[in-house]
């Protein structure tokens, strides 16, 4: 199976362990969500995978070959980071041109189309673009490049709601036409949740959980109803979060709903964002 595989990848910055023995795989043709709070190690992990940083320990493989400084394998990965790595004076058109030169098989017509859809003038210099468009030109580059692994770090940073929806649409269309591995690294997950096939949660530099999205969403449920009844029901259960408004209370519970649930309580599906926040809170990880 073709994949990007990390085996016990660690990265230290001085005394800080940004990554602590991370082992995981991004398999061919799947859409992944790489979740984690700020500082969880998402960006460091992506930087280590693409050789922008050297891991302190461990090994990264792409399709079974060592990735570090291996151009043949690195060319299979396009990584859109949050950092501006393109020269300030470079126009978007030039970015497209050089990406085509380096990666080969860049779909310029498609890229131009996307520019039009998003209202981006490709003659502009990258440094002259607003935050939103700085994300957009990189997203367009990522969609139009012919690489089997696309890593997107906080892809919708600065995008308004319309552009975000447009991006998810284009991403799925692109994926349907040319299935490849897409990794969405983010801390704002709810609107992308239904796009994901698998979810990896990083917490304090470690992999806290790696499940299919469906599994993860079914690892818990919500109950709502009268405060007193909800309180009685959740007693002794693993409660991820609770919230009450007036006399009504909603609680997120880890586990499967029970048969003997009181009729007066309503159950619902868990919200990925809430689950993620609850899990990554202090001691939240002990629940899993």
């Amino acid at each position: 199976m073709n994949a990007i595989t990390c085996t016990q990848v660690s990265k230290n910055f001085g005394d800080v362990k940004a990554l602590d023995q991370v082992s995981l795989s991004f398999e061919e043709g799947k859409i992944y969500g790489l979740l984690g709070r700020n500082g969880a190690g998402k960006t460091t992990l992506l930087n280590c995978i693409t050789g922008r940083m050297f891991p302190t320990g461990g090994e990264v493989y792409v399709d079974g070959e060592t990735a570090l400084e291996n151009e043949k394998e690195l060319k299979k990965i396009f990584y859109m980071g949050q950092q501006e790595l393109y020269p300030e004076e470079m126009t978007v058109n030039k970015v497209f041109y050089w990406t085509g030169q380096f990666y080969g098989g860049f779909d310029l017509e498609y890229a131009q189309n996307l520019c039009q859809k998003f209202g981006l003038d490709p003659k502009k210099k990258t440094s002259k673009l607003s935050t939103g468009y700085r994300s957009i030109y990189k997203l367009i580059t990522a969609l139009a490049v012919d690489a089997p692994y696309i890593l997107l770090d906080e892809p919708v940073l600065g995008l308004d709601a319309g552009h975000r929806e447009m991006f998810y649409r284009e991403l799925l269309e692109n994926y349907a036409e040319k299935p490849r591995t897409i990794v969405l690294s983010t801390h704002l997950i709810e609107e992308a949740a239904s796009l994901l096939e698998e979810v990896i949660i990083l917490h304090n530099g470690r992999v806290m959980c790696h499940k299919t999205c469906e599994e993860l969403l079914h690892s818990g449920y919500t109950v709502s109803g009268k405060q007193s009844e909800v309180d009685a029901f959740i007693a002794g259960k693993k409660v991820l979060s609770q919230q009450s408004i007036g006399g009504l209370k909603t609680a997120v519970i880890y586990g499967k709903p029970e048969e003997d649930m009181p009729q007066t309580l309503e159950t619902g599906r868990m919200d990925l964002q809430k689950l993620f926040v609850a899990m990554t809170e202090e001691n939240g990880g002990e629940l899993l």
Binding site: N47, G51, E69, L74, I77, Y86, W98, Q101
Partner: protein
């Protein structure tokens, strides 16, 4: 490597043409002004292409690392390809600069009293030497001077990139402080002029004015060795360079 050189040369082309345009314009205007003001007893000469190109190459070396490194990292290029790409590009740039400088000098020489840096330094050789051999020597001299300065700029930029904030401050203070203040002072009081003697010898080596005669190929060889040393140092620093925020 082919692609990385292509990118380097592409981004160098415009700034090189600009530098060339400026020095050409300056030489022409100076030449015209000086020639029209010339009287019987005013001897004038103009020059400057070589020096301009040498400074240009130094600056190019200084600014070439960081931006290109980040750009290449974005595009999955190995550090090795980046390094070889730079080495090839710098060699090409230096050779082009030498050719352009010599050609422009010769062309301007038809109209003005233009004398290139090589002619000025090795005037005594001009009358006696073989003209073809001198031309080759001039080419090598200018080319190697540019090359070594390019490597100096590049390795210095890399050193700065790799150093921590504290390291940068230390280098910025200690290096010039040692060379220009501490050593000359020590020389005066304790070393008994040996530092000045060393500088003098270094100067002689750099120009090729040796006790036994004038050898323009000595500085060429020295520049080549220095370039090689700087290239090795650069590679050692580049090998483990990381993209930082």
């Amino acid at each position: 490597m082919k692609l990385t050189s292509k990118y380097y040369l592409n981004s160098l082309r415009n700034s090189f043409l600009m530098a060339f345009g400026i020095i050409l314009g300056l030489s022409l205007s100076f030449g015209i002004v000086l020639r029209s003001a010339q009287s019987e007893n005013l001897d004038y000469s103009i020059s400057g292409f070589e020096l301009t190109f040498m400074i240009f190459t130094l600056v190019t070396g200084l600014v070439s690392f960081r931006e290109s490194f980040r750009f290449f990292q974005q595009n999955g290029i190995s550090r090795k390809s980046q390094f070889t790409g730079w080495a090839v590009s710098l060699l090409v740039l230096s050779a082009v600069e030498a050719v352009v400088a010599i050609l422009s000098g010769r062309v301007l020489g038809l109209f003005f009293n233009y004398r290139g840096i090589f002619n000025q330094l090795y005037q005594t050789l001009q009358t006696s030497g073989n003209p073809a051999l001198l031309l080759v020597q001039e080419f090598l001299w200018v080319c190697m001077a540019c090359l070594v300065l390019g490597w100096a700029g590049f390795s210095f930029a890399l050193l700065y990139y790799r150093l921590s904030k504290m390291g940068k401050i230390l280098v910025s203070i200690l290096v010039p402080g040692t060379l220009f203040i501490l050593l000359p002072m020590a020389d005066q009081h304790f070393l008994g002029g040996s530092y000045a003697w060393l500088l003098e010898k270094a100067g002689m080596l750099i120009t090729g004015y040796l006790p036994g005669g004038i050898y323009p190929m000595v500085p060429v060889a020295a520049a080549l060795v220095c370039s090689a040393v700087l290239a090795v140092l650069s590679w050692l620093m580049m090998r483990r360079a990381e993209v930082r925020s």
